[in-house]
């Protein structure tokens, strides 16, 4: 009987506990002393918060379904056609003498044994010849048709979300104020890199606006990497190439466009990882909360708005 009662007991109390924890998380200051005065600053407007989180989901699906599509031919080339004997990068597999698989990653003249991760990995316990492992692809097993369905559905969301963000960013002054690189960003860059490397992050008034590294990074990712990944994606479509012959021209061919598309995807991934590391290092609670509620707590800032 006691065992049978167990789920009923937790099911009534757990949601309350979770809600209390969420509420606490959203309202509690970065300063862990609950009696200390808090200086709140409204950092992220609603449109930024919405497009940020939609983009986080869409980008994950795009990356993982993209790896599924890549796995259908796990090699990259330069130019219009594929020089099958000389890929720039390839993820292949060889059979060992004992019949087991050996995954090989080739980059230019170099070959690496990447068994279990790239080239050959296990899917539901079975060894498979596949570029990227099943935990990194949507869907998990090799299924090109479904990977394409995910990719081309979410591509529309990616572009729409990006366009909405850009429209709001330009209209609201977010672009001019926070994203457009300034000449001083470049001159101060070496000093800022040193500060970042020492994990010294802006405090007080300086924390209210993006620093040079942030401006340059966000500008590059949103306004260079974003359009580039879309245009190289379109260049892989034969109908788009017929409609816009300049596409394969600027990227020097469909296979080059595929390679650049791949590099863009991994640049997004690199940004994503650094972004999360920086969020954690510079105060994860405060940062994540500010992207959910908009409010950011300024540490020891007399000039901060007090709510």
């Amino acid at each position: 009987m006691a065992v049978a009662n167990e789920p009923a007991r937790t099911s009534t109390k757990r949601p309350i506990a979770i809600w209390a924890a969420i509420k606490e998380f959203l309202t509690y200051g970065a300063n862990s002393d609950p009696d200390a005065p808090r200086h709140w600053f409204y950092r992220h407007r609603l449109f930024i918060r919405i497009t940020h989180w939609s983009n986080a989901i869409v980008l994950c699906v795009m990356l993982m379904s993209g790896l599924q599509i890549f796995n259908a031919h796990s090699a990259l080339y330069w130019g219009q056609g594929a020089d099958f004997d000389h890929p720039i990068l390839s993820l292949t597999a060889m059979q060992n003498d004992d019949g087991t698989l050996k995954g090989i990653t080739q980059i230019g003249p170099w070959h690496f044994d990447t068994t279990g991760f790239l080239g050959a990995s296990r899917v539901d316990g079975q060894w498979n010849v596949r570029g990227f492992p099943s935990w990194a692809t949507i869907p998990g097993p090799q299924w090109l048709a479904m990977g394409r369905l995910w990719h081309f559905f979410f591509a529309w969301l990616f572009v729409t979300n990006g366009a909405i963000f850009a429209a709001f960013a330009f209209a609201s002054g977010h672009f001019r104020r926070d994203l457009e690189p300034k000449a001083s960003d470049f001159t101060r860059l070496p000093a800022e890199i040193v500060h970042h490397a020492k994990l010294q992050f802006p405090k007080g008034e300086a924390a209210k606006s993006y620093n040079g590294i942030q401006r340059l990074t966000y500008f590059t990712v949103i306004f260079i990497l974003g359009p580039l990944v879309v245009l190289t994606g379109l260049t892989m479509s034969p109908t788009m190439d017929a409609a816009f012959p300049f596409l394969p021209w600027i990227f020097m061919g469909r296979q080059s466009a595929r390679t650049i598309h791949f590099i863009c995807a991994f640049s997004f991934l690199a940004f994503f990882i650094v972004h999360i590391v920086m969020v954690v290092l510079s105060g994860s609670w405060n940062n994540i909360r500010s992207m959910i509620t908009g409010n950011y707590e300024i540490e020891g800032a007399p000039g901060g708005q007090h709510e």
């Binding site: 606490e24 099958f84 998990g140 048709a145 559905f153 529309w156 892989m236 109908t239 017929a242 296979q255």
Partner: protein, 262 residues
């Protein structure tokens, strides 16, 4: 336990829970019956927008002889392998005929000699495979629009279905495919596009068996699976839902998009 530690524990549990759900979800969500139609709903939009920009007559880029790949990669069926096809190979496709039937005023049966006697188009184009690779080759053949003009499609004709000689399934398990013959469909815009040809030559030579001998369709603004090999029959229809799996092509029946422009 301090309140900061409680919060940290809570967040760790949330992250762990969400990632477990996401991983489990990724593996099962593609199997859900509602996901396929939802994702597929983007296909019509993609097609409409691509047609808007590509129109009916934008030409695929054509290359020079210097761009031709040393060997044109063959993919899919490399040899239909049936007894009937072997006989055709043995006598040089002398008796191969391409029938044109369905919603046409003048059904046709065309021999290879008749096809070669018609005006031809030669084009050096890039073949784009759905797998991701590309290959450049020179194709010579008869524009499908000329064949259709002879056959005169009737009112209501919407698609051109190509029926092929290569079976895709081995039902008796003898190692040779014997059923599910390859087929594909193009709509009238793509079928009557100037670069859509019934190709009988690759790089100045009769089409090799691996590349679809004696005749394959080239539809240069589409992916490779929309360009069937070993073409035996052309059928003009208003609807392909009654043919085979009903999705308009062999690979479409396996879940690939009907719109092969992307």
């Amino acid at each position: 336990m301090s309140s900061a530690a409680t919060r940290r524990g809570f967040l760790v549990r949330v992250v762990a829970g969400v990632s477990t759900l996401a991983l489990a979800g990724c593996n099962s969500v593609s199997q859900q019956p509602w996901i396929d139609p939802l994702l597929r709903s983007a296909e019509a939009l993609t097609k409409r927008v691509q047609r808007l920009f590509g129109g009916s007559h934008a030409l695929a880029q054509e290359f020079t002889k210097a761009d031709i790949a040393p060997t044109f990669r063959a993919n899919g069926t490399l040899d239909p392998g049936t007894a009937a096809y072997r006989n055709h190979v043995a006598n040089g496709f002398k008796d191969w005929r391409i029938t044109v039937t369905g919603l046409v005023e003048h059904p046709l049966s065309i021999s290879l000699d008749q096809l070669r006697a018609m005006p031809s188009r030669t084009q050096i184009t890039r073949h784009d495979c759905v797998e991701g690779w590309s290959c450049i080759g020179e194709w010579k053949g008869t524009q499908l629009q000329l064949i259709l003009a002879l056959a005169k499609p009737k009112e209501g004709a919407r698609y051109v279905v190509a029926r092929c000689a290569d079976p895709m399934t081995d039902t008796d398990g003898d190692g040779v495919n014997d059923s599910d013959f390859y087929y594909e469909s193009l709509d009238m815009v793509e079928a009557t596009h100037p670069q859509t040809i019934l190709a009988y030559e690759l790089n100045g030579q009769p089409l090799p068996v691996a590349n679809g001998a004696p005749v394959r369709i080239r539809a240069e603004r589409q992916l490779g699976y929309k360009q069937p090999k070993y073409v035996m029959a052309i059928e003009v229809v208003d609807d392909y839902s009654k043919i085979a799996g009903g999705k308009g092509g062999y690979w479409e029946d396996q879940g690939y998009n009907w719109w092969g422009g992307i």
